[in-house]
Homo-oligomer: 252 residues x 2
Amino acid sequence: MPPRNHGPYTTESVDDYLKAILELGGLAEERVTSNALAQHLGVRAASVTGMLQKLAAQKPPFVKYEKHHGVRLTAAGKMRALEVLRHHRLLERFLHDFLDYSWDEVHDEAERLEHFISEQLEDRIAAKLGDPETDPHGHLIPERSGALPAREEVLLSKWACGVAAVISSVSDRDPAALREMTRLGLKPGVAITVETGTRNASLRVRIGERSDSVRLSQMLASGISVIAGPNGRARNLLADSHEANQAESRLP
Amino acid sequence: MPPRNHGPYTTESVDDYLKAILELGGLAEERVTSNALAQHLGVRAASVTGMLQKLAAQKPPFVKYEKHHGVRLTAAGKMRALEVLRHHRLLERFLHDFLDYSWDEVHDEAERLEHFISEQLEDRIAAKLGDPETDPHGHLIPERSGALPAREEVLLSKWACGVAAVISSVSDRDPAALREMTRLGLKPGVAITVETGTRNASLRVRIGERSDSVRLSQMLASGISVIAGPNGRARNLLADSHEANQAESRLP
DNA sequence: TTTAAGATTTAGTCATGCCTAAACTTATAG
DNA sequence: CTATAAGTTTAGGCATGACTAAATCTTAAA
Ligand SMILES: [Mn+2]
Ligand SMILES: [Mn+2]
Ligand SMILES: [Mn+2]
Ligand SMILES: [Mn+2]
C-alpha cells in the first residue's frame, strides 16, 4: 500500500533498507557493505544484494551500488531515509508526550508506524508538539527539508576519564537498558563523569549532582552518547583518540 | 510485518477482507458473495475466491466458506473485523479531536493506520479520548470486547416524508460529499424532515431549526442515515416499507 | 606471487496476493 | 425440463521480498 507521500513510492522494505544504509554509513555517507546491512536488517546477504540491485536500477535510483564494494545513498535515497527518520522520531516524541508512553515503549510502535503516516499527519504531529528538536532519547529530529544538524557526540565508552560530560542521547533499542537507565537517573541533559582508571568490563561513573559513583556495565555504557560538560573542557580529549569519531549516535 | 496484536496474525489484506465481509454481511451475519467482495475491495472475483479458500482453510478459520454460496465470518473472523473497525473509528475520532483533521480528511488516514496500531496504542488513544462512543461521522465504536450495539438506523432515502428524524450517521467515503454536508449544516444529531411528495432524483428537506428547505441530491441523501426524531413518532413508518432495513450504516 | 578465508553475488525456490483466461455451477426464463 | 446468462472457481502467471546452496570476488597472509 504505497500511496503515502509524494516522491518515488517506497515499500516498507525499501524504507528499512534506506534507513539502514543511512545509519550504517553515517552522515559522512560512507559506503555500506551487504553483510553489514544483512546483519542490521536481520536478512541474508543474498537478499540484500537483490534489493540493492533493484534500488540502484530504478528510474531515479535510491542508491549508488558497486558490485563487491558496497552502496551509498543518492540524494533521493538520503531524502527518503531522513523523511522516515523524521517520522520515527516525531512519533516517539508524540507517543511519549501525548499518549503516556514511557521512553522504553516508544521505539517499537514508532518503528512500525513510521512507514505509514502521511505527510499531513507528520505535519499535524509536529505542529501539536511545537516542532520539537529531539526525540525522548535525545536524538535530533530531521527538519521537513531533510536538514539534520551534526552534533559532535561521542560514546561514553570513548570519553576521557575524569572529564565532565553531559549525556546527549541514549540508544532506544533495548527497553530493559532504558529502564535501568531510568533507575540510575541517566537521561539526556544529565551530567556524567567517568572515574579515572576504570575502563575494563565496566566503568564507574558519577551521575548528575550525586556524590557517590555507580558501576555501569559495558552494555549500558555503549548505549550512551555524550558531549562536553558544562565546565567547558575541550571536546577532543577522547579516551581512545583513534577512531573515536565513529560514535554517530545510533541513528533510529 | 504481522506481529501487531495477540490473536492469529493477519495481514493488511486479510484485515480488509474480514472488514468487507462484516460490512457487506451486516451485523445479521448474512452470507456474502465473491462478486460483492470483489467489487467492494476493488479486486477480481478470482482473487477473492483464492483468499476465501485460504481464510477458510487456516488453523482457526476466519470464515465459513461454501463453494458457490458465499462466506460468513466465524467468531474469530468477526472478532478481528470488529477489532479493526474499532481501530478505524477510534483513529478517526482521535485525528479529528486532537490533530485538527476535518471530518472529510480522517477516513483515508484511518483506513491506512487501522492495520498497524498496537493494542497498547489503541488503549492509549481510547483513554485519551475518554472512551468515545462514536466517530466523527456518528458511527458507533465497537468496545474492546467486540461488543457493538445495534441501532435502528435507516437511510434518509427510505425514511417517510413528513416524519421528523435526526441524523444518526453519515457515510465517510466521499470527502466532497462531507464538505457539502458541512456547508448545509448536515451532521449527526441534527434534526431533518423530508418534505412530502419529493422522492425523485432529489428530495427537499428541512434541516435543523431552519424554516426554509433545501434540495438534496440522491447522492448526498444516500450517505445519510437517520433515527426517529425528537417528537417521538413511530420508527417503522418507512417510505418504502419493503427491504427498508438494509441500511446498516455503511460500516467503516 | 599464490592461496585460502571471508565477503558477495548468482541461481533456483517459496509464500503472498493479485491478474487474465478458461472452465464450470447455479439460477432463471422459455 | 432445458438452455442461457450470471456468478464462481480453476489454471497459469507475475511482482515482491525472503531463503538456501553454489559460484565468484577480494583481500590479506604466507
Ligand atoms: Mn521498519
Ligand atoms: Mn529514539
Ligand atoms: Mn485498509
Ligand atoms: Mn467514520
